[in-house]
């Protein structure tokens, strides 16, 4: 084991914390179910977590690619009205959202 945390069982509290990070609200039953199911998956992936691969570089992509930039020339973009037509709430040609944090409405 290169890290003992990988053998520790995922707790209910971990699931509640991760659900909050992912902006998901879980019922108590879902917390129970997901804790058990995610534990099973994490137990399975322990086979790779325990390998000593310190000699290898991580690969984030399958094919060597260089970043590409297009020429900085003006061109048409998506039609604003068509884009806004798909939004749940619009006001004054902008996306309308509820209050953010403690800001005054």
């Amino acid at each position: 084991m290169n890290d003992e945390r990988v053998t520790s069982s995922l707790s209910r509290d971990d699931v509640v914390h991760v659900a909050h990070l992912a902006r998901l609200d879980l019922t108590d039953e879902e917390v129970e179910l997901f804790t058990a199911q995610l534990r099973t998956v994490l137990d399975h992936v322990a086979d790779v977590a325990s390998l000593d691969l310190s000699h290898l570089e991580p690969s984030s992509h399958p094919i060597a690619l260089e970043n590409v930039l297009r020429a900085d020339e003006p061109r048409p973009s998506l039609d604003r009205d068509e884009v806004l037509a798909a939004a749940p709430a619009v006001e004054d040609h902008r996306f309308r959202v509820p209050r953010i944090g403690g800001e005054a409405p």
């Binding site: 290169n2 890290d3 945390r5 990988v6 995922l10 971990d14 699931v15 991760v18 659900a19 990070l21 992912a22 902006r23 998901l24 609200d25 879980l26 879902e30 997901f34 199911q37 995610l38 099973t40 998956v41 994490l42 399975h44 992936v45 086979d47 790779v48 977590a49 390998l51 691969l53 290898l56 570089e57 991580p58 690969s59 984030s60 992509h61 399958p62 094919i63 690619l65 970043n67 590409v68 297009r70 998506l78 039609d79 068509e82 884009v83 037509a85 798909a86 939004a87 749940p88 709430a89 996306f95 959202v97 509820p98 209050r99 953010i100 944090g101």
Partner: protein, 472 residues
């Protein structure tokens, strides 16, 4: 069913109208799809308009394109301008994209007729199409069985004869596995070979669009039409692809083929037997076939189920109820985000987003995500070693034939095991194809998988064509 190659030839020569072909396809869907639920939405008006445009081109003596009048089924994670694109999710129900995916546009220019949007596991997360928010698809070969997934709707639509061609996306096997289970051809091109502009993202370092067809030749026809560079996709390969169709009949004489034990030994006995028969047929056709072991493949599944959820947790952060799709109101933005995602995502998407968030979270990133990326390097190096000795590799596509609806929905790990033979090619970005090859003891289709190195599509289709010719 008539192949795409011969349908296009008929339409191009004026022997048959695209409108007639399209009307026939739409009528078949209307009459029979309630048994299979392969389509979420049928593009009746759009299809007829496109067919009429193809017929007008033929009448005017203009080239109507290589896919003239051929009906194509589109997976519902491909954006279609002004036409509902749901990804099998409540969170995108009713959303009409403001643009077409590049492949949709390319198909239109090639004369193809998009007939509808096909069912899929929500956001392509699943191996049975049972994770669709709009109900499962049934396997046309046996309606008590799943069609595989996540592109189960496109695979089943082609298997049912609704369209000779389909498009799917393959992140961990989501084209090849349903192709195997439905008894059709399914192919994943090299990563970056087909533009993903307008493909709704699941795991961006793995996702690739590819063809479904009833024959290897038809799959090559569709692949040739969609392969190529696209400035709208920053991961698109800049080189110009070689057409694969012209050399598809060259055979396998002298080719070196590795029968990969690691892609056979864990499979059901009847599946393993078919793969062995395919290997024997290739040897009889003049290939040099040897057994090879690539033990690193056994780590692929674990690496995939860390990398793909991690990327998904990031990609799916965009579903926040602000710009498109579902919104469930809340007192402030965070409450609205949470209420929207809680109501809009199904159980499997929530599991994967949580798994990925966990693998990326403080204290676990190195142990899980970075480690999985090192395993990815390990698998890529193992492929490179194997391809020093072999031109292509051979194995099973899926460990079993199609399973019963409901059999694995409550056991995520059992469902994930369906992808064990297909995942290595996603981790390496290499092309691979599933070809129908006989049946299992239950009489259901078995798929044999051919794997090739990066940009080896022409060789892949050649080998697949020989496998197909010797299928029982």
């Amino acid at each position: 069913m008539t192949t795409a190659v011969s349908l296009a030839a008929e339409v191009r020569s004026g022997a048959r109208s695209a409108r007639d072909v399209t009307d026939e396809a739409l009528a078949a869907v209307a009459a029979n799809d309630d048994r299979f639920h392969t389509f979420l939405d049928v593009m009746e008006d759009e299809a007829r308009a496109q067919a009429d445009a193809v017929d007008a081109a033929v009448a005017a003596g203009r080239d109507p394109g290589p896919l003239a009048g051929v009906p194509v089924a589109l997976k519902d994670n491909l954006c279609t301008r002004g036409f509902a694109t749901t990804c099998g999710s409540r969170i995108l129900e009713g959303w009409r994209p403001p643009y077409d995916a590049t492949v949709v546009e390319v198909l239109r220019r090639a004369g193809a007729v998009a007939v509808g949007k096909t069912n899929m596991d929500e956001f392509a997360m699943g191996s049975s199409t049972e994770n669709s928010a709009f109900g499962p698809t049934r396997n046309p070969r046996c309606t008590e069985k799943v069609p595989g997934g996540s592109s189960g709707g496109s695979a089943a639509a082609v298997a049912a004869g609704f369209a000779p061609l389909g498009l799917g996306s393959d992140t961990g096997g989501s084209i090849r596995q349903p192709a195997a289970l439905c008894g059709v051809v399914g192919m994943k091109p090299t990563y970056g070979r087909v533009s993903r502009y307008g493909l709704v993202a699941f795991a961006s370092s793995l996702d690739q669009i590819g063809p479904f067809a009833t024959t290897v030749e038809d799959a090559a026809l569709l692949y040739d039409a969609i392969a190529g560079h696209d400035p709208m996709d920053s991961t698109s390969l800049p080189s110009t692809p070689e057409p694969t169709l012209p050399g598809i009949g060259k055979g396998v004489e002298g080719m070196r083929i590795g029968l990969c034990r690691d892609l056979v030994d864990g499979c059901a006995a009847d599946v393993a037997a078919r793969v062995q028969e395919a290997a024997d047929a290739l040897a009889a056709a003049g290939a040099k076939v040897e057994e090879v072991s690539v033990p690193e493949f056994s780590y692929g599944l674990s690496a995939y189920y860390l990398i793909a959820p991690a990327e998904a947790s990031s990609n799916l952060a965009r579903y926040d109820g602000v710009r498109y799709g579902l919104r469930v109101d809340g007192a402030d933005v965070e409450a609205m985000n949470t209420a929207t995602r809680t109501a809009g995502f199904g159980a499997e998407v929530k599991r994967r987003v949580m798994l990925g968030t966990y693998a990326l979270s403080a204290g676990y990133y190195d142990a899980y995500y970075a480690q999985a990326q090192r395993v990815r390097t390990l698998v890529m190096q193992a492929f490179d070693r194997a391809y020093q000795s072999y031109d292509v590799l051979l194995g099973a596509t899926a460990p079993t034939t199609a399973f019963d609806l409901g059999a694995k929905v409550d056991d995520p790990m059992a469902m994930y095991m369906n992808d064990v033979c297909t995942i290595p090619s996603n981790l390496s970005g290499h092309p691979a194809i599933s070809v129908p090859f006989g049946t299992g003891e239950d009489g259901l289709p078995v798929g044999v998988q051919v794997l090739a190195p990066a940009l080896g599509e022409a060789m892949l289709f050649r080998v697949a064509r020989v496998v197909e010719a010797h299928a029982p």
